[in-house]
Symmetry: C2
Subunit: 480 residues, 2 copies
């Protein structure tokens, strides 16, 4: 078991600094409420010197009074009381303390000194600190969470996040996108355990196949990069670097006390290491989704099926701008397609504009099979237009989607589905339904073509990079 | 009145090629249905040689039998019958014919010859052609539409669109975003009336303040650019150029027979002319929205209020990457803010992370007023997080939005609202509600910060460009 495995499987938790009145939704109450609603199965102890019972659980005046061993402590005390708490953790044999409390290095020089004091106390006493100024651990397999709203289902994505708010946004957005997490760590100011520790842990964690990170800064750039390099060599690593701009770096310093570092330096280093850099939460999730749902394609040639004429043109531009290619079909394939689809009002090249085929299951299956058998493309993007010039019946779209799912099983090519314009009041209900059905069938869904192209372009590029890397390392191994 | 004004105000319309059975939802039925549902107030004549009544209206065997003058004809006949129809239009004194029929220059050399024949017949006879392979005109002020789904309210955006499908997507997406159109033209193969004609018309149209265009190609690049230059000098012109990539250009040729031209050439020319190029429908609408809802700012300094710490860092990066600046506040302003907001757990610089203030109306008003009075920023972006770490009450978010609207009236700075993460099943209902309320209050809404930053960055850049252009042209005028 890796050095940090214990963080994700605490057998008991104390939350310190829980108001005696549960109506007071301060940090302590939030954490207790989240753990209880999330069904945490270990022992849970609220700590408050002036209460005997909180939220139906026996409360304790301090850590030392808790009758059983404690693995994990969540600290919601004011900053001034945290040094004593770390001492208590040490005395009680606690393995890790998550310090939710803010007001440390992100706020002032005095706060920075206090933070350093916590670290030296912790290191002396053998307790590890997550934070301060963070939310800690979300580990679905052990029903450990800092919000009742996250998915209880465990998955394969490990996320480290310097911002608690962003970790929470990502957890909820990801859940809707069909992405599930092995572990999420909100680690704030990174006073003790830091980005390098968590990357190192996730790189060797067998439950994690993709690593995603939101990082504002690092105190030890050399170690961080060494760890990233090792991680990127074995798993896809996707990073959103906060504080890339001058203004962003200042905001990061105010947020987590992070030293954001030079943008150009990070850009080059990430690229050299094969770390995929993204610039928004949406882009991060789009890319994670590709790694979780799309089979690695053999090349970058995309076949696009199902959009109208203009949508096909814009889709092609989006794909080729993202480094993919949308090759024109051979005359042979076009002739075969023209036996199925009339040329008039349709397009029988790539993209295939086959409005006539929408709702015609067997026609779609024949088209998909012809395209797949031709070996002229490496992956397929299926466009589904939820709004049309004329009202579209939701029943026929649902049937059309079933035909697409059937086609995906028939052709055995990597595939993504793009049900566009699902973000209108009149279309969102149907969008959510189609989206859910695709995820059930194991198909990646993107809400629009430009986002899909962007993510799939990166995904294809990653596999090409890994392939080249492995190919270039082979002769060396033979000669050594 | 401009040369093309008549296109948008036909007093009578004949739809030629309407199936006698209205269950047969072919083109002719679609157009009739759209015009009737949209409440077209002029005379409407279905034409079919084998029917006496269609959809409750008297049908005529041909154009010549229609008893009254005809301004506008919509042709849904097979391609082979279109030359005779154009002759009939000429004989009947029709001013314009929209040819919905496909199968012309986009399909084959033969189709190209037929298309040329139509043009020469039309020019001889004094009738103008829209299309072929298009949907024609949506002119809300005259209740003329090719879909029953579009807004009946007229607005200030003129849109020309080489793709009917894209015009339809844009019409519906725009309507939801609070964007209303003066005129929309779907013009397909542009055999007679072309992109230059429509740009020229919209440039002088008093009902149009912003021009948006989806163009795949042009047959007369010199004239198109001359027209664009004139238009861009008087109104913002936003263009989505289809067929920018190799694959996209091939798709465009199959779609509308367009010669897409060199990407580099267009990029440079658009930039020189001050034409704003976008790369997706979403980007187009985001930018149009800015021109319709945000007052021109005096500079590029943005104040951001309301996000969490991480969201503030990412927002700042997005803004500065888009050419805006998010300046740190002066010590003076920070001290004033610290009298209102605790430093611990909040950020009192720019962006202001004031989670504590959410739901506190008077605190928001005080913060907004301090920031506005300081003159340290030129515009404001208000972040509203619809999902949080803990469940958010929709009532308190609605009240918070009312406070934001009140603040927008108090401070008199250009402003946009970003209610993020409204695209989840659990949040979309509330998002649509908040969104609608903002639009009613005249506030621009963006669904996420990166899209908002992108659009506002372009918008601010446009105003700076126009300012420089006017400034540099003044001395010349004085000296001439």
């Amino acid at each position: 078991m890796s050095g940090l495995e214990f963080l994700f499987h605490p057998r008991s938790i104390a939350v310190v600094g829980v108001p005696s009145n549960p109506e007071n939704m301060q940090g302590g109450t939030f954490f207790m409420d989240a753990l209880m609603k999330f069904g945490y199965r270990g022992n849970l102890y609220p700590v408050n010197p002036r209460a005997s019972e909180i939220l139906g659980l026996k409360a304790y005046p301090d850590l030392m009074s808790v009758p059983k061993p404690l693995d994990y402590v969540i600290c919601c005390l004011p900053a001034s009381l945290t040094p004593q708490l770390v001492k208590d953790c040490t005395a009680k044999g606690v393995r890790a303390v998550c310090i939710y409390t803010a007001g440390f290095s992100e706020e002032s020089a005095e706060g920075r000194r206090l933070e350093q004091k916590l670290v030296s106390l912790a290191r002396q006493g053998g307790v590890r600190i997550i934070g301060p100024n963070c939310l800690g651990i979300y580990s679905p397999s052990t029903h450990l969470s800092y919000s009742p709203l996250y998915s209880k289902e465990a998955g394969r994505v490990g996320l480290l996040c310097q911002s608690g708010g962003i970790s929470s946004e990502l957890a909820q957005l990801a859940s809707h996108r069909g992405i599930r997490f092995s572990k999420v760590i909100s680690y704030g100011n990174a006073a003790d355990l830091d980005e390098a520790d968590f990357i190192e842990y996730l790189a060797q964690d067998v439950e994690t196949t993709t690593i995603a990170a939101y990082v504002e800064g690092t105190k030890d750039g050399t170690r961080f990069l060494r760890t990233l390099a090792k991680a990127a060599a074995v798993k896809p690593v996707i990073i959103l670097k906060g504080g890339r701009t001058d203004g962003g770096a200042k905001a990061a310093a105010s947020h987590t006390g992070a030293l954001a570092g030079s943008r150009e330096k990070w850009d080059i280093l990430f690229q050299q290491l094969g770390v995929m850099q993204v610039h928004s939460l949406k882009e991060l999730l789009d890319l994670v989704l590709a790694f979780q749902y799309i089979k690695p394609p053999r090349g970058k040639r995309v076949g696009i099926i199902g959009g109208g004429g203009g949508a096909s043109v814009v889709a092609t531009d989006a794909c080729e701008n993202a480094g993919l290619s949308v090759p024109a079909f051979s005359n042979e394939l076009r002739h075969d397609l023209e036996r199925l689809i009339s040329k008039t009002g349709n397009i029988t090249s790539n993209p295939i504009d086959c409005f006539a085929a929408v709702g015609n299951r067997s026609l779609l299956l024949q088209i998909a099979k012809l395209v797949a058998d031709s070996k002229e493309v490496d992956l397929l993007i299926m466009q589904v237009s939820i709004i049309g010039v004329y009202p579209v019946e939701s029943k026929s779209l649902v049937e059309w989607l079933e035909a697409i799912i059937e086609a995906s099983r028939l052709v055995n090519l990597p595939m993504a589905v793009v049900p566009s314009n699902g973000d209108l009041p009149a279309s969102s209900g149907l969008y959510f339904k189609l989206h859910q059905r695709c995820l059930q069938a194991g198909l990646a869904v993107y809400p629009n073509l430009s986002d899909a192209a962007q993510a799939i372009g990166r995904f294809v590029h990653y596999h090409a990079w890994m392939y080249d890397k492995r190919a270039s390392s082979r002769p060396k191994r033979l000669s050594s």
